[in-house]
Structure formats: C-alpha cells, structure tokens
C-alpha cells in the first residue's frame, strides 16, 4: 500500500484534470476482474466483490484531485501569472519548484531577493497577485511555444520516506484515501460496495454529488486526509489531530455532522479491536460527505481521516502506521456494519 501511495502522489491530478490518477488506479487494481465505470464528470466508480449476504449499499469515497495552480496570463517578458486551484496558503509559494502543463515544463516561483526588499517588504506577506512562475523563457513568444494559459501547474515534489515511518509528499490529501480504498477492493464484502474515486472535491465537493446520485447508497464512508496541527506553539485545543495517534473520526465539520449510528459503530469497533484512533477536535473544513449526505433522499455518512501535517502544501507529511490503522479500522468496521445496522 505504501508503494502505491508513493506512486499515486507522484502523479499530477489537479481538480478538473484527474485522468492520470484515474488511469493509474484502474491499471493497478489487484483484482483486474472488478467492474468499473467512469462517469461524464470523471468520477471512477469500482464495484467491489460481494457474497450477497446483506442488501446494504455502501459507498466508500476518496477524492483523486489535489490542489495546485493554473496559468492565467503570460507577461511580455515570458513570466506566467497564475491563480490557485483549491485552497492554497499563498505564503508557501515563494521558492517552490513546479511543473507546467502536460509537457511538465519545469518552473520556479520566485520573488525579489531579500537584499532588494525594503524593511516593510521583509516584514510583510506577499500577495498572490504579485507572484509569478519563471520557466526561463526568453520572452512572451518563447513562453507561448512552451505553455498556454489554462495549463495546470503542479508542485514538483517527490515522495520521501523519512524519520520513523513517515512519508513526505504532495497530495497526501487525498491519495492516502485512494490508496486505502484500493486495498479494500481486494476483500469480499457482505454488501454491495461501491468504491468512488471522486473528482473536484477541492474546488467544492463537485464529483461526489454526481457519484452519489448514480450509486444511491444507504451509507457513505468518506476517507480523507485531514489537518494535523500538532506543531510547536499551537494550543492543544486547536491541534485538530495528532500524528501517530491513529486515524481520526470526525463528529462534525462545516459540511456535515456524522451519522450517530455509524460514528458509534466505528468508535466501538476501534475500542473492541484495540485499533488506535482519535477524535478530530476541531470542526473546521469540509469534504465529500457534505454533498453525499444530502444527495437524493439522504445518506448516512461518516468521515474517517488520516492526520496530515502541512496539508495542501508540497511537503505534507503522514505517519504510515496511522494509514495502516485507518485501513484496519475501516475494514473491520465495514465487515460488521450490516449486523450493527440490522441489515
């Protein structure tokens, strides 16, 4: 699973441009006999194996898209102006290496050297509209030979296994969720399992709504990467999740409040099976569960996440044990779900 995770993060798949990730998942499913379908917005839906013992319909979702940038203007001297795709803290952009467009032209996001900044500039944060990508083009004409406005720009960040059981990579949110679901598809389930690899979550939970409309599930379990702010000088109550303490269960976020039955079942499963878990202690953020829950006639949803430090940056970090425990918890909880729900 770790190898697949690393390979998934290497792929570039910004919101609206997820095809490379989709192709990889299809080609790397361990079980090639599984039925899969790509809908017209780009969601990949894979039907899991079932022994038919329950009539429950369960949707397990993770989004394929990542945050990044998009070229919106080429200047006279060949520099690229851009806007963000999804939520990016613009403070982290200076000094980053990126790749532009399908030819992956190497670029850097530079800014006036510190020596040329006056005191005011040194002490302030640079606004997004002052930044640009430099692809070492000679001028606008040369730049237009290499890239176009509308080109997607991904961070050039290689996965690195480091420390004790850690991985740094871009897009852990939510290739981590995708990697876990790929493993779940190896098992035989008591119910109809629909694995939904959704698109465009980062720009407004777009793919999930469409997928839920097609699948019409009873239950929706969303696997995400979530904020982990257990870093120096953050107050304990603002940390959200702690690295190494296991997958987190959300009781509420801005987009949905967890279904109580599902929440209690997963919580009890973790306790009974001795799987490390934690509560997500903040209620910020939103994810696909928000749109799945209110689709059709309503769906019972729950969000289980793996803590990711520096989420939405090219250097996001997660603990491999947290990921393993997430797979373990979700697998065990799903197998006993029909019994818990009386279905």
């Amino acid at each position: 699973m770790m190898q697949k995770l690393a390979e998934l993060t290497k792929l570039d798949g910004l919101s609206g441009n997820e095809q490379d990730v989709r192709k990889y998942i299809i080609q790397n499913l361990a079980d090639k006999s599984l039925e899969h379908y790509t809908d017209n917005i780009g969601n990949l839906i894979v039907k899991g194996k079932t022994d038919g013992s329950s009539n429950l319909k369960v949707m397990v979702a993770a989004h394929m898209d990542e945050v990044g940038l998009m070229v919106n203007y080429i200047t006279d001297d060949g520099k690229l102006k851009f806007s963000t795709v999804g939520g990016i803290d613009s403070r982290i952009l200076i000094g980053q290496h990126v790749r532009v467009g399908k030819d992956k032209i190497p670029g850097v996001i530079g800014y006036k050297s510190i020596h040329l900044q006056d005191k005011n500039e040194r002490e302030s944060v640079v606004k997004l509209k002052s930044l640009y990508i430099d692809i070492a083009a000679k001028d606008r004409e040369n730049a237009e030979e290499l890239v176009k406005t509308g080109d997607y720009v991904a961070f050039d960040s290689e996965p690195v296994f480091f420390g004790e059981n850690k991985i740094k990579a871009k897009a852990l949110d939510d290739r981590a969720g995708c990697a876990v679901i790929m493993e779940l598809l190896n098992e035989v389930w008591p119910f109809e399992l629909y694995a939904c690899f959704t698109v465009q979550e980062e720009i407004g939970l777009r793919g999930a709504l469409v997928a839920a409309n097609r699948v019409k599930p009873d239950v929706g379990i969303v696997l995400e990467g979530t904020t982990c702010a257990d870093v120096p000088k953050v107050k304990e109550h603002e940390v959200s999740t702690v690295m190494g303490k296991g997958p987190s269960i959300s009781f509420a976020d801005r987009a949905s409040i967890a279904d109580r039955e599902l929440l209690m079942h997963f919580f009890k499963t973790a306790e009974k099976e001795g799987i490390p878990y934690q509560w997500k202690t903040t209620t910020t953020g939103g994810n696909d569960a928000g749109k799945i829950q209110t689709s059709g006639a309503g769906v019972k949803t729950l969000v289980v996440s793996v803590p990711c430090r520096y989420i939405h940056s090219p250097v996001s970090v997660l603990d491999l044990n947290d990921l393993k425990n997430m797979l373990n918890l979700v697998s065990k909880a799903l197998h006993t779900l029909p019994e818990a729900l009386g279905r």
Partner: protein, 348 residues
C-alpha cells in the same frame, strides 16, 4: 564534464556558513587535478595555486565564496521538532513548505511546514513569519532525535539543481557555486594558456556573514590584484531595474569606489577584444561582496569584480544561465593571463 554537470555536482555539496569544514575537501578535489598545488587553510578557504611563467611574477587572486546560506539547530520541541536560527541572510518567506537536511551525527531529512491558514492570527496573515517561529519536522520520536541531532548542528536547504529551458538551471546554492564553477572553468582554460603571473584561485568561507574568508585569504596571500566572482541580481519583474541584470545579456562588471578604475577599464578592454558582452554594474558604496574586505586588506589591494546574474537569490529556486557562467570564466581567464600590470601601470 560539461558545465551543467559541474554546476550540479558543486551545488549538491553542503557548506552552510561557518561549517565549511564539512565540504573543504570536496571543493579541493575539483581544484587538485588542475593546479600545481591545492591546499586548505586554517579557516577552510580552499586555495589552488598555478605558477606563472615570468621570472618576476606578480600575484593575482581570483575569489568565489563557497559558503551557502542555511540554518542552525537552536533547540528541540516535543514531537520530533527542531527550532532553528539563521546562518546568513535567509528569507523566511521562502522557507515555508520547504525540505531540509540537518547535518547531525547523521544526515537527517526534515520538512519546514507552516501553520494551517485557518489558525493564523490576524497579524500572521499579513506579517511575515520570523525564523524563531519556524520549526523542522523530522518525523522521529524525541529520544531518537536527540541521539541524531545536537543543538548547533548546521542545516542546509534541500533543493537539487534541475535543468530548465534555454540553458538555465535552478535550485539551491547557485549563490555562489556558480562562481566556484567559474573558478574550475578558469583553471581548465589556464591548462592550455601560458600566463606570466602566479594565480591563486580561492574558494572562500563566510562571505554570507562577515567576509571572513576574503579577509583572511587576502591578508595571508598579499596579492597585487584581486578578481572577485560572485552572483548579482538577475532580472526580476518587480525589482528595481537599476539593480538587476538580465540573463544572457553580458557579464556584469562592477564600477564604483570599491573597484580600481584602471584595472576595471582593462577588464572591459579584454571583454571587447574577446567579443564577450558585458553590462555595467554600478556600485556607489558597499557592493555587499568580498571586494569590500579585500580592497582594504593590509596596504590595499586593487580589486575588480565580474558577476553572474542570478534570479531569486537566497531561495530554493535560484536561477542562472549556464552560458553566463561560461562567459564569466572565459573573460576572467583571458584577463588574468594577459599582461595586465604593464598596461595599467603605463597609464599612471
């Protein structure tokens, strides 16, 4: 070895300011095969000496600093984090979401993250973060980390130089391994050229803090002429035009009180003769380079300076043109192998 490979190998070396002892031997290995004697002095300057053919040779030094800006471990924070202070002028704006290597008992990879935006206070959204607010995430438990890393261990940015379009490269430490690459190329040029005067190429230390290498090496060598090779600001859209130099449009040569006017004119003459384009780099006072220390060493040393334009100085995304590095090397090589002393003294 072509220029691009040379530059990439030099930039891979880590020598954060004040910790050049970690890298001196590696730098020396580039000079060794190309000079009569290569050695390291007690401040870790790396010197390559090439004897001149004259019976009464003068001494010329060509300097380029090999220290790079970096950070230093100043403390531990629970959870496998390290606090840092700066070595040289790092721009904290460019450190958020970056990768580093901590040179402890072993090399430890780490990440400098950033507080999630929704937890930022009002002031943090508009004010730049300070270095003592940053921390390195190493992914190790505290007790394991303490075995690997001590307070005072130096830290380098991790951003290997990559190839860009139009013969450019980008990555960390091009300030000033681009200059050191020029020194190596100069030594290569001089293999096949007779030069009257004794030439010392010096890869110097601690330029980024207080020009210590320039001060100590010029004091020890007592040169008759000094040529400094450093990077200068490349063209960047929102920066003051007067202080920036476009890539591939000529080698900036420094003009100003810190630079000897006659020897500088001679450098322009050589460039014209060799058909190497130059730009005029105006420095009304302290140029912020080694020339400032060398010019007033002992009884004074005539100093000139040739630069390599570099964009985004002191970030992980420094960017230069390989052609500029090669042109700077050829220009200086031709300059120092000529009869410079005779021609400039004649004009007295």
């Amino acid at each position: 070895m072509n220029t691009e490979t040379l530059v990439k190998q030099l930039c891979d070396i880590n020598a954060p300011v004040g910790n050049e002892n970690l890298a001196a031997e590696k730098i020396k290995s580039f000079f060794g095969p190309l000079c009569d004697k290569a050695y390291i002095d007690r401040f870790f300057n790396v010197i390559g000496y090439k004897k001149g053919t004259s019976s009464d040779p003068r001494k010329i030094i060509i300097t380029a600093h090999y220290d790079q800006i970096g950070m230093i471990v100043s403390g531990y924070e629970k959870g496998g984090f390290l606090r840092i202070s700066n070595l040289g002028g790092v721009d904290t704006k460019a450190l958020l979401a970056s990768e580093v290597i901590v040179h402890g008992r072993e090399e430890v990879y780490g990440v400098i993250g950033a507080k999630p935006p929704h937890l930022l206070k009002e002031s943090e959204i508009t004010k730049n973060v300070k270095i003592d607010e940053l921390f390195i995430d190493t992914g190790f438990p505290d007790d394991v980390l303490k075995q690997k890393v001590s307070i005072g261990d130096p830290v380098s940015i991790f951003s290997p130089v990559i190839s860009m379009k139009n013969g450019c490269v980008a990555g960390k430490s091009l300030d000033n391994r681009a200059g050191v690459a020029a020194l190596v190329l100069i030594l290569k040029e001089l293999q096949n050229v007779k030069h009257p005067h004794d030439i010392y190429v010096v890869a110097t230390v601690q330029e980024e803090t207080d020009l210590l290498g320039a001060l100590t090496s010029s004091y020890a060598l007592e040169p008759d002429l000094a040529v400094v090779i450093d990077v200068c600001h490349g063209d960047m859209p929102e920066a003051d035009r007067a202080q920036c130099f476009p890539l591939n449009k000529g080698i900036p040569v420094a003009i100003g009180p810190a630079f000897h006017s006659e020897y500088t004119n001679a450098l322009f003459e050589v460039a014209k003769k060799e058909r190497i384009a130059t730009q005029r780099c105006i420095e009304p006072g302290n140029p912020g380079t080694e020339a400032w220390a060398i010019q007033v060493s002992r009884l004074g040393v005539p100093t000139v300076e040739a630069s390599i334009p570099l964009r985004y100085m002191h970030t992980a995304a420094e960017l230069v043109s390989l052609q500029d590095i090669e042109n700077a090397a050829v220009l200086v090589a031709r300059y120092v192998s000529g009869d410079i002393f005779k021609t400039t003294e004649e004009t007295d």
